[in-house]
Structure formats: C-alpha cells, structure tokens
C-alpha cells in the first residue's frame, strides 16, 4: 500500500472553527480512506444476489452462479439455466472462494531485483507501478523487433477462456513471432487423437449417460475430474439403477468405488484390454450390425487366430473392420490379454458380453489414463474403436459430438492487414517446441506439426534450437510445476533472459520471472466466455466480474495486450493497437474502446454477438440482447441430434468410422514424405514398435518403462483429486481439510497409496514417511496402505509438492521446501510423439519407496 501524498506524514493540528465536522475530510490529510456519499445500503443488511459466471476449476467449465453480499462472494451454485449441471456444482466450485480471498495472492506488479535465477534462489521481488512494468516489457519486446528477431518472443498459455485470441493470436502474430505455445498437450491431446483417427473428431466427447445401459469408464474418474463432473455426479446414481457401470483403472477411483465392475489393469496395457474386448464381441458375433454391417452371408467368420477375407464383409457406417481384425485383433484373446494386462479373462469376457448385450446404448468413456502414455495414441484409438464396434458412436446412450455454438471468430483479414513485413515473415518460422520434426509428428487434425508439444519447449529453449528465446510471457500457467520432467523446465526457464508472468498467485514459474503482474481470478473478477458440452447440450457460458477485485489486477487475455499495444504505439509501432481497436470496437455502436476495461467488454460482445443480437436462429436459447446475455450468463444449444454423423458424415478421409484409419495413414504418410523417409522410419523415430500396416490401426503397444524393475519395482499412477482446481487450489486450507474425499486418501498430508501386499514386501506401514524415487527425481510423502490400488503399483494425487507458492501450499518458501512431492517431479520427462502430449500415464514412471 502506497502513501499517496506527503501530507500524510505531517502532524495534524486541531482544525479551525470553520472546519466542518461532516463531509469531506480533506483537511485531515487522509491516505487510504475518503469521504463517501450517503448510502441507504448498509453493509451487512442487504439481501445479496446470485450473479452468473463460469467456474474453470477443471475442464468441465461449469455455468455457475455466485451469491454476492456487500460486494463479497459468499457461496456458489450451478447456473439455474444450465441443462448440463442443473444448477449444481462439484466441490471445486465452493473451494474457489478460498482462492479469490487468498491473502497470498499477488497484489501489485512486482519486479525481480536478484538477477540470478534458479530453484531456491529468492528473486527478491519489489513492487513497481503498472507504468514501469509495461514500459519495461515494451522496451524489451521492441528491442527484438529492432534487431529483426521478433520470433525470440514467446507467449505461453495455460488455462484460458475463448478471449484467448487477443493475447494468444493477435499479439504474437502482429508482433511477428510463431511462438504462441498452449498448454493443450499437457491436458489430453492423445485422447483427442483416439477419436480423431477413428471418427474424425479432434475434441473431447460428450457421453449420453442419461440413456446408457452400460457405462465403461476407462482411464478417468468422471464424478471427480474430467469434463462433465457435476452432470455425472447428478446422473451416475440413477445410471447405477438402470445400467451396468464398469471402471478400467489401476486404482479404485471414486467412480470405480460405486461401479459394478472394477478392472484394475497394469498401467500401459489398455490397448491389449480393448482389443480383447473387441475380440470377444467379434468372435461372439455380437457387434452392432446397424452401424458396422455384417458378413454377406451373415455367417460369422471371426474366429480366434483366423484371418478373414475382406470381401466377405460389407460395412455400413464404418471402414476397415476386417483389416483391423486381421492386423491387430484376431490373436488378442481374452486369455492372452489377461496375461498382458492382469485383468482376469473371465472378467474380460463378462464385461465384453455385458457391453454387447447393452449395445448400442453404451458409453465407452475414454479418458486420459488410456491415452496420455508414451505409446498411448493407439490405445486411445483402440478404446474408442469399441464404441464403433458397439454402434454407440453418435447414438442414444453413447459417445456424442456436440451441437454448434454460433459465436464470432477472430477476423483474419483485419489481422493480416495490420501485420507488417517483418511479422509476416517471422511468424512463418519454426516454433520453439519443434513440432513437425521427424521425431515429433504432432499429427493434430491430420497435419504434421498441426498441434502443440508443450513439454518439448524446454528442449528448444535449452538447445537454442531452432533459436534462442529472449522474452517469454506466460499467463495462467505454471509449466514448471504442471509438466512432467520439472527439472528440465527449471533449467530452461533459468536461461531465458527476460520473463513476464501474468498470474493470480506467484508460483514456481514466477520464480524465473523478471516481472510479475497480478491478474483477476477466473470466475469472480473477469470477463470471458467458454464453450462446453454435456448431457447433449452445447453451452456458451460467460465469465463475469461478480465482485470488484480486491487488489489492483488486470484481465490477462484482454487488458495485457491492450495496455502493451498502447506502449508499442508510443514507441512508433501502432500496428497492434490499430488492429485491436479495429477488430474489437463495440459491435452495437461502432465506438472505439476508451481503455482496457472497455476494450475487454467490447471484445466479449464481439465474440458472443450472434447469440444475443437476434439476427439469426441460434438453434438454442433465445437471448434478447446484450443485457439479457449478461443477466442469464449463458446460452444452451438445442439437444444434440443423434446419428448426426451417420450416413457418411464423419470427418475422416472415408467419411466413415475408421477401424483401419485411412486418415492416420494419410497423416503419417504425409509426415514421412515431408522428411523423405518411409512410415516405418517415422515409427522407429517416435518410439513406437508397430511396423507396416499395423501403424494405421488401433493396436497394442508394449508400454515404456524408465528404470529397471530391480531398482524401481513399482509403477506410479498419477491422478487428479476432486479438489484439484488444476494445480491452483493447494494454497486453500480446505484442500487439506477435505482431502479425504478422494478414495483411500486422508486430509492434511500428501500420501501415496500402496497395496497391503506391497507394503509388507517393502517393509512400510500405514502413516510411514517415505522417500519416493524415480529416474526423474525424488521427494517425501506419507504411505497409505490400501486395497484400492493394484499390487505392483502405487497411486498418488497430483497437486501437492509446491516449492514456491503461498504459505499453505509450500512447506517453507525460504528453504525451498515442499509440502509433499510434485508428481511431475516423479514422472520422468517423456512425450507421446504422435500427438505431442506429455506422457504422464501408462507406467513409464517406475518408482521405489524407502522408509525414512
């Protein structure tokens, strides 16, 4: 807090007789307090009101409402208009109250005064003005343009709203850098790979569990995390009365605890299990004929180990079933798979037959555990292929795509108009994550280098390959904590000469920053909009400032680029400012924004205009103008139409659901040709074992392992707590108080769960403090002996182990000590190279435990 005027330091004398006892107090030389106008609204006496916004605590992105009294957020619920969450939120919704009112939040812009960077090195931050902060940033960035090296600026994006275009696209592209690096491959790009190379959907799926007769949950825990949490909490109980629920996961998840079947497979063997289920369905002749088709003579030729003639089978909505059978399925009997994945053959048979009996009303819910593995791309395809086999794709009770949300897009023509020659040339340079190289195909949406490989950024930075980064701006991110192989990030960020962090709370990433800027807390203090889906409805939901920010903060995605653009303009580079003002003037009046706050509102109006301006049928809720949009806070689509992509409308090369992926064949062949090699060479370079045609079908790949079985005998299973608001809720006391809501966990500790048999084998007992070590690193936590984890594995929730955060999350900031251990330090750095993803599941992280 500043002293606004020197007078405040002077001694006050008794005011003269003329001084009024009421009214302005200017003669008293006040500092923080000022006279207020009379108000009828007495603090503590008002009734309060519910205000709409959006919860971004996980990737569900829930339409929410916050109860506000006297300008203070008091409680949270789901948005009353939501057809997804029906007015309910999960525990994260409530936990966020401790984030917005966290005393450790960043309060003012600060700069580093210690030039040395590294873990455990105090940056010695001191407060600075916004003006000094933006002048410094603008000078550093303009220096790059002056030296004709704008590509050495990199924008790193963590969690975002769809206002991201402004900071993530417009800013870098006008400035002249190709380096806008998103966090997406940290989330679950390998999961999208599974649905894209089968049904042409590079996205997460909706699951119609209100109408499912069998729900197969695979590698996720949808009542605790994933992408439709409150909707699932609401519906899973009813589903258990109507449907069979089975959960595939090495640990007993919250969902598994309620399920009829738990299939605790060995990590990294998902492909084998999925193929075995397919094998049972096919050899039983129980596939869905309406979707898949049949043998011409209706005689089932799928016999274990026997090749089938492609000509004998006529497919309907699918492509390549027989090829898939011949290449990958025919030998994967339940017995064989049982030996690989550790799930009993009889259970595989029972689950496969249960699925077939309930088909097509079956939700095969594929989550990151099945996909985010070093060789997980094909297991993601294999799991999703089961939905194809069962005819549940785009079908009642199955996996669905989503209805369209008609919002405006960034105007590319305006963007290009304001790009100068330097920007046009340098935005085409190779990106720092090296995507698209021979050894890193990143085949998002069918293109070589089409996606992002967030966790390969340290490789590029450390090797200065393709070039050095000189200025980094990160927003709502903490890659040095949230990406496995944390030591690589620490080294890489230590080497960047100038880094800016836009954040609500200083974190590990901030430790390497030169300037840190306080930002508004998502859900409570900012504008934005996101698109989400669940329960057959697509939704556009607004983030709104339901309370005034307590501290002097900005909105990262809109205000940062606008304020920076003003500084660029002062320095003779008006392009960004001109572009922003032209693109985001008030869509109703055409007025140019006066300041960064108004700019933010205009930008939101621009994007969401088609939903509320009444000009076109939105095929969803009727919204009567901007005011109504703000008051409702959200828009629902009509219910998704089943079978919308049947009849040759899938987004694949063949327009069908592909068991033999012509789409992947085209993408892989394109990538190979780009590098003048064959596909087998590509597969060898990216650590996959498949050769020949096997590369184009869902199949089983042996899992990768870092560390010998002798030295690291246990496989590490990472999961997301139902209290994780990503990695940001660990400074909230409630996180520790209520951590026992995760099955097998207890509050107040960072625990690793181990099976009783393993506990006996390794000489540890419940409550012991242990050292957990992998090839990646080590740390301390407590043992919890529990039957709900597969023998040979240990499971641990991501989130704790911060070494630089607030007082609650960090053990001892001065000593750089952690409270527990970060899973991403334990999980060695590894990539799933077809999608560019961080590999964090699938058992490549092998560990040992030692009692301390």
């Amino acid at each position: 807090m500043k002293i606004k005027r020197r007078d405040f330091l002077k001694l006050s004398a008794i005011a003269g007789a003329t001084a009024a006892l009421e009214g302005a107090q200017s003669h008293l030389g006040m500092n923080a307090l000022a006279a207020s106008s009379k108000s009828d609204k007495k603090i503590g006496e008002g009734p309060g009101e519910w205000k709409p916004t959006t919860c971004q605590g996980c990737t569900t992105w829930c339409p929410a409402e916050v109860f506000v009294q006297d300008g203070r957020a008091v409680k949270v619920r789901g948005n009353r208009y939501s057809k997804q969450n029906d007015g309910k939120v999960c525990p994260r919704g409530h936990l966020s109250l401790q984030q917005v009112y966290d005393p450790d939040r960043l309060k003012v812009p600060m700069k580093r005064t210690n030039p040395k960077k590294g873990r455990g090195v105090d940056p010695k931050f001191v407060p600075i003005t916004w003006d000094e902060a933006f002048n410094t940033i603008a000078d550093k960035m303009m220096e790059l343009r002056k030296n004709e090296e704008p590509e050495k600026f990199c924008l790193m994006r963590g969690r975002y709203t769809y206002m991201r275009d402004i900071i993530y696209d417009v800013l870098p592209k006008i400035f002249g850098t190709p380096n806008n690096i998103s966090h997406s491959s940290t989330c679950a790009e390998a999961e999208k790979f599974g649905s894209y190379y089968t049904e042409g959907l590079w996205d997460y799926r909706d699951y119609d569990i209100s109408n499912s007769k069998y729900i197969l949950i695979w590698g996720c825990d949808p009542v605790a995390s994933n992408r439709m949490v409150p909707a699932t909490i609401k519906r899973l109980g009813d589903a258990l009365d109507r449907a069979t629920v089975a959960a595939v996961d090495p640990r007993l998840t919250t969902s598994a605890a309620k399920a009829n079947e738990w299939l605790p497979l060995i990590p990294g063997t998902d492909g084998a299990l999925a193929l075995a289920i397919a094998h049972v369905i096919l050899t039983d002749g129980a596939w869905n004929r309406e979707f898949v088709g049949d043998f011409i003579d209706r005689f089932n030729r799928f016999k274990a180990g026997k090749t089938v003639n492609e000509k004998d089978f006529v497919e309907k909505e699918t492509h390549g079933l027989v090829k898939w059978w011949n290449l990958a399925v025919k030998d994967m009997t339940a017995a064989k798979a049982a030996a690989i994945c550790g799930v009993p053959a009889e259970q595989i048979l029972r689950v496969a037959r249960g699925l077939a009996k309930s088909a097509p009303h079956v939700a095969v819910w594929m989550g990151p555990g099945a996909a985010m593995q070093a060789r997980g791309a094909y297991s993601a395809m294999a799991v999703h292929a089961l939905a194809g086999l069962l005819g549940s794709v785009d079908n009642v009770g199955g996996s669905l795509q989503a209805a369209k949300i008609p919002v405006n897009k960034m105007d590319d023509d305006i963007l290009k108009k304001h790009q100068d020659d330097l920007a046009k040339k340098h935005t085409k340079l190779e990106k720092i994550d090296q995507r698209g190289r021979l050894e890193l195909p990143v085949l998002a949406s069918g293109k070589s280098g089409g996606g992002v490989s967030t966790n390969n950024v340290p490789t590029g930075i450390l090797n200065k390959d393709p070039y050095e980064l000189k200025v980094v701006v990160g927003y709502m991110n903490n890659f040095v904590f949230s990406s496995n192989g944390t030591d690589r990030w620490e080294k890489a960020l230590s080497s960047v000469p100038f880094t800016v962090h836009l954040t609500t709370n200083a974190s590990e990433f901030t430790m390497f920053a030169d300037i840190v800027l306080p930002c508004a807390v998502s859900k409570y203090e900012r504008y934005g909009f996101v698109k989400t889906k669940a329960n057959r409805y697509a939704t556009c939901t607004l983030l709104q400032p339901v309370v005034d920010p307590i501290w002097d903060v900005i909105q990262d995605e809109s205000e940062f680029p606008f304020l920076l653009a003003e500084k660029f303009k002062e320095r003779g580079f008006p392009n960004l400012y001109d572009c922003l003002v032209e693109m985001y003037s008030d869509p109703e009046t055409g007025a140019a924004p006066k300041d960064s706050k108004e700019f933010t509102v205009f930008a939101l109006k621009y994007y969401t205009q088609p939903l509320w301006d009444g000009k076109k049928d939105t095929h969803g809720d009727k919204i009567n103008g901007w005011k109504d949009m703000l008051e409702k806070g959200m828009w629902n689509s009509e219910a998704y139409k089943y079978k919308a992509h049947w009849g040759g409308k899938f987004g694949t090369v063949t327009k069908k659901f592909e068991f033999y992926s012509e789409t992947l064949k085209k993408a892989l062949t394109g990538h190979a040709e780009k590098h003048k090699v064959d596909v087998d060479t590509v597969m060898a370079k990216i650590n996959y074992t498949a050769r020949g045609e096997l590369a184009f079908v869902p199949h089983h790949e042996p899992s990768m392992r870092h560390g010998s079985e002798k030295d690291f005998p246990l496989l590490f299973v990472d999961y997301k707590s139902r209290l994780n608001r990503e990695g940001r809720s660990q400074n909230s006391p409630w996180y520790y108080e209520f951590k026992h809501v995760d099955p097998g966990d207890i509050g107040g500790q960072d625990t690793v769960r181990i099976h009783p048999a393993d506990a006996a084998k390794y000489g540890v007992k419940d409550g012991d403090k242990i050292k957990l070590t992998s090839m990646g690193g080590s740390g301390e936590c407590f043992v919890r002996v529990w039957e709900g984890v597969r023998p040979g594995t240990v499971s641990k929730s991501y989130g704790q182990g911060h070494w630089a955060y607030g007082r609650t999350a960090t053990g001892d900031f001065a000593g750089s000590a952690t409270r527990g251990v970060n899973n991403n330090t334990i999980i060695p750095w590894e990539l799933e190279r077809l999608s560019g993803s961080n590999a964090r599941n699938g058992g490549h992280a092998a560990v040992r435990i030692e009692k301390i």
Partner: protein, 211 residues
Amino acid sequence: MNNSEEVLHRGNCFKLLAACFCEPDNEMFLEEQLCDNLALLLQSLSPAAAAQAEAMKSWLQITEQERLRLDHAALFVGPFELIAVPYGSVYLENNRRVMGDSTLSTQRFYQDAGLLVEMKEPPDHIAIELEFMYFLCAKEAEALSQGALDEAMRLQGLQAEFFLKMMAWLPQFCELVRAGADTEFYRAAAGCLDNFYASCRLVYTGNDTIN
C-alpha cells in the same frame, strides 16, 4: 496540554504508524522526520514505544531504500508466502482468508463514519485500520475544541469499540513482524506499534485516565 491536544496527539501516533506500514520511502520518511515526530509524540503515551521510534530513526538512517523495499515486500506484500499478513481477518477468524466477516464489520465501521476505502486493498489492512483510528481521534479532538462534548464522547466510544473489537490482532501481527523481519527498522516498528497498542488498550479499556 488540553484535552483536545492530548487526543490529537494519540491520533497523530496512529497516523504516523499507519505510514510506517505503507510502502517505505527512506528519503521521504527522513525529510518529514517521521520517526522523530513519532518518538516525540509517544514520549508521554508510551516511553517504551518512543524508544522504539528512536531506534527506527537510527536504523532508517543507515538502511538502504532497496533493503527496506525488499523487507516490506517480503513481510506484507508477497508475492510468495506473506511473513506477516497485514489483514485483520486472517487473525480474527483463524481461516487464512481475506474478506471475512470481520472485514465486513470493519468496513461497516468506516461506512458509519462516512468513509470508504479508496485503495485496492482489503479494508482491514493494518495501515487502513490505524488511519481510521487517527480519523476518529482527529474528529474527537475537533469536537472537543469546539465544545461538542456529546459528539466527542460518541467518537471516543467508537474508538474504543473499533480498537478493542477489530484491532485485537495487532500483538500477533507485531510478533510475526519481529520474528520475520530482515531489517532492524521493521523490527523496531513492530516493537513501537506493539507498545503503543498496549498503552492504547489501557486507555480504551478504562484502565487508564482519559484526559
């Protein structure tokens, strides 16, 4: 010294102590004789606090501005864990959060006095609460000087109520500053505030004579 001067005296102590917990400006503090004035004012109210104010002056003269800024940031601003959280609710509600019920109560005191917080900070920031006490004292002194005794009594009662209800966290806060400060200046400032608090407590609980 007459009554009104005595009250204003105390008010000025609150005011100067409020300044001590804002962002430091070594040069300005010395030019405005912040510590000298504080020491002088405190001599009659709390000799122990006055001694600490003298110490503050000595340390201020030999402590570089950059060290003061760093220490102030680490103690009260962050950006990582706050060594001495400067917000009342964290102590009064034992819930490590700002904008608690006690914060709203603090804000209600300000509202009833016709004031609002103009800075982007929770209303129960140490410097704002001290400033509010200065305001009440100054207004009481004005009332006394004008012979408005009822008003003076009301303001005196308000001071006692606010001080005893909303500022009970100060000793705990001072202890954290003393234990966590890197500079002697802030250690002395904490000692000064703590001693002044103790003397005011006697006044407001009626265990001392209000002149």
